[in-house]
């Protein structure tokens, strides 16, 4: 199954110009790929195929090599962040209190997998490690708002508020 982001690419000319600047800066160093990817991620917030292709062509590094690096390091993302960034804690405390089912419910409602963003750019979904709020387990956050002691039953109502 292809992992191309479902969100249409909305890169601007300015972003592209910045990307080329970053590439020029590192082109001649040993191991230019990591700093270029980090720069690109800063510019775009994620590393879609359009951006990886430019890097591939400019550095003459295969797209697969780049994709392998991007999917190896957790710091890189293949999907943009949504307008609402949902993060469900899968730390031990939350997990034993059922955050796995909560994650499944969210996936079902917004139709988005972990690490992805809905095609309209509204929701992105992440699974995180312990965020230090174990007393409230199970926990999720939507942007800066924290939701604690969650039950699967409350999820539809919480999400409904963000849907329109």
């Amino acid at each position: 199954m292809s992992k191309k982001s479902a969100v249409p690419f909305r890169g601007t000319k300015e972003q592209e110009a910045k990307l080329y600047e970053v590439i020029e800066k590192y082109r001649n160093i040993d191991g230019p790929l990591m700093p270029v990817l980090q720069g690109a991620q800063e510019i775009y917030g994620y590393l879609p195929i359009e951006v990886q292709k430019i890097i591939s062509e400019e550095l003459d590094i295969s797209l697969e090599h780049i994709y392998g690096v991007v999917t190896f390091y957790a710091q890189f993302s293949l999907a943009p962040k949504g307008e609402y960034q949902i993060a469900v804690c899968l730390g031990t405390a939350c997990y034993v209190k059922g955050s796995g089912e909560i994650l499944d419910k969210i996936k079902e409602i917004i139709g988005v997998d972990v690490g992805e963003c809905s095609p309209d750019g509204k929701f992105s979904l992440d699974a995180t490690r312990c965020i230090g709020a174990c007393g409230l387990a199970p926990v999720m956050t939507i942007n800066d708002e924290v939701f604690g002691r969650l039950t699967v039953g409350e999820i539809p109502d919480i999400l409904a508020k963000y849907m329109n």
């Binding site: 292809s2 195929i49 295969s62 797209l63 090599h65 780049i66 994709y67």
Partner: protein, 583 residues
């Protein structure tokens, strides 16, 4: 040379400094098993099957990457070593789809052989979670079944380092690590060139050619079809290996006998089409040189190379010779002149190719490969698939007496047979082009400068007052290097031969699989190439334009080389593609 002295299993061994323990052991006739190690291209020390004990070292070391030291004492089969290897195998099996019985590599699988040797069985002692995967059957030439992949990354290394294609690699990390393509695309969506080098370098059944033998069996039992077979030059140089013969055994006569017993209506030779290619191509070269055409002209026999050029050097497509490959020329000749001569409707002729190559499976589906309005070639099987058919038919290959190809399409010259080795097309073309340009018969027609297994070879010749510069490359990484020079205008060659597979077709992706333990230490391609040069040396005719059947075909049907009719039948077109495939 600086030598290092050490002891392996208490035996004194002396090897050049810089050798690994593995190499030192090999020189002392001590085998150490390997899985991930491929000389020069995959020295990653990842699988740990090659561990040995070094006196004084706390943990076991990976012998494939560990260098020898003066006075070192190595033990390669202590109980501790054997236990560690067994554990490695058990862990591999725990996440492995252990369906050996139906596996294409059963009998030639390096993992199976080791499990056998180490008494690691199938009882699922370590059964745990299995990585999920689906079979990728999108490409025209092969399957990927990651449930049999042991993540040795040999395929990744050959695709990237030897072929400069790099459309497969390790994606993700930890337990989710798997070999795949960018953005988890199917192989068919990438710029894979179908060379099959990944297949011949895979230790297990994770990678395999698409089997077309069922189609061939079916055609053979269809009385309404005139089923003929052509065998590429390199097949005869390797097929005997499938029947337990040493590398470098000439299997031509027995192969012909076996094909006859399989029931083909004509057992023919791609060599005649190689001769035909030379006649058309030499004519094209002379024309380009004399009329200021696009130079350098580059050969077009290797469909893996053609695809690579289309993906990565679309601006050089006009440099490619428009000649079809020998496989396609054979089909075209069979379905035009031969059909006419035999009074058979081309639609009733079924052409089977036996090829050392998986890219040929892709090639038969290309556009503009249908001289008679039907596909030039109907089915392609690799050397391995032919061996499978012979075994299934119960034919005792080694017991057969040598037989000869049928006429007319079994007629060939020595120039045609050397096509199977890197430099062969160049040499064959020079034999013909030089005589065409000078109008004189060549005394010495062995152009040995372009022989041999180096990745890039160059030579220049005085031909009728003209200085002709040529280059030969095999392996697409070498081709890429050469093409970059051409692009930058740094190379003033007139003629370039390129073969996708390192060493040429003798080392093609459809050839018998030799385990890494052999490939790492033996000159497999050189030995196979020697078979072809030996056949050439003993042929009565050694120049393509002397092929008597082709003389007849031109006189009766095609007129002159490069004529309108010849052009229609034997030349083709290319398409520009993106370096990212359809991604």
């Amino acid at each position: 040379m600086n030598m290092v002295n050490l002891k392996i299993n208490n035996i004194d061994v002396s090897v050049p400094a810089g050798s690994t323990i593995l190499q030192a052991a090999k020189s002392a006739n001590i085998e150490i098993p390997t899985l991930c190690y491929m000389k020069e291209i995959n020295e990653i020390g990842a699988c740990r099957i090659c561990v040995v004990e070094v006196k004084g070292a706390r943990s076991l070391v990976a012998s494939c990457v560990y260098p020898v030291n003066e006075g070192m004492e190595v033990f390669t089969s202590t109980p501790r070593v054997l236990k560690a290897r067994r554990m490695t195998l058990e862990l591999l099996l725990s996440n492995h789809n252990r369906k050996c019985l139906s596996c294409i590599r059963s009998g030639s699988c390096e993992l199976q052989a080791l499990c056998n040797e180490y008494g690691v069985d199938n009882d699922g002692k370590y059964d745990g979670a299995k990585t999920e995967s689906e079979i990728d059957d999108s490409a025209a030439h092969m399957y990927r079944d990651n449930s049999k992949c042991i993540l040795c990354r040999r395929c990744v290394a050959v695709c990237e380092k030897n072929q400069a294609v790099s459309v497969i690699g390790a994606n993700e990390r930890g337990f989710a690590t798997h070999v795949g393509s960018p953005f988890e695309a199917l192989l068919d969506e990438t710029s894979c060139v179908s060379c099959g080098q990944c297949i011949v370098n895979c230790p297990t059944g994770a990678l395999s050619e698409k089997d077309s033998t069922a189609k061939v069996w079916e055609a053979l039992s269809d009385d309404s079809k005139h089923v003929i077979v052509q065998t590429a030059p390199a097949v005869r140089a390797a097929i005997a290996e499938e029947f337990g013969n040493p590398i470098g055994t000439d299997g031509e006569g027995k192969m012909v006998a076996a094909l006859r017993r399989l029931g083909f209506d004509g057992v023919y030779d791609t060599d005649i089409a190689a001769d035909l290619t030379i006649i058309e191509e030499a004519n094209e070269l002379v024309e380009r040189i004399q009329n200021g055409g696009k130079l350098p002209m580059i050969t077009s026999c290797s469909p893996g190379w053609i695809k690579f050029c289309e993906y990565n050097f679309p601006d050089l497509l006009d440099n490619l010779s428009t000649c079809k490959s020998p496989q396609q020329m054979f089909g075209a000749l069979a379905k035009t002149w031969y059909a006419d001569k035999m009074g058979i409707d081309p639609k009733d002729i079924y052409v089977v190719s036996v090829m050392p190559c998986t890219a040929k499976k892709f090639e038969i589906g290309r556009e503009d490969e249908d001289a008679a309005g039907v596909p030039d070639v109907d089915a392609v099987i690799t050397t391995r698939e032919l061996a499978r058919m012979i075994k299934r038919a119960g034919i005792n290959f080694n017991g057969l007496a040598d037989e000869e190809f049928d006429m007319p399409l079994g007629s060939s010259t020595g120039a045609g047979v050397i096509f199977g080795a890197t430099g062969g097309v160049m040499e064959a073309a020079l034999r013909t082009a030089v005589e065409t340009i000078t109008g004189k018969e060549l005394g010495n027609f062995e152009f040995t400068e372009v022989r041999g297994m180096e990745g890039i070879k160059e030579a220049s010749y005085e031909v009728g007052g003209l200085n002709v510069k040529v280059a030969v490359a095999s392996g697409l990484a070498n081709a890429k290097e050469l093409m970059k020079k051409v692009q930058k205008g740094e190379a003033d060659y007139q003629f370039i031969e390129i073969m996708a597979c390192p060493g040429g077709c003798v080392n093609g992706g459809g050839q018998p699989i030799q385990p890494a333990s052999v490939r790492n230490f033996d000159d497999v391609r050189g030995k196979r190439a020697a078979v072809l040069y030996n056949i050439d040396k003993n042929m009565p005719l050694r120049k393509s334009h002397d092929n008597p059947v082709l003389k007849e075909a031109y006189a009766e049907y095609f007129g002159k080389p490069g004529s309108h009719k010849a052009h229609k039948a034997f030349h083709t077109t290319y398409v520009k593609r993106s370096r990212f495939g359809t991604l």
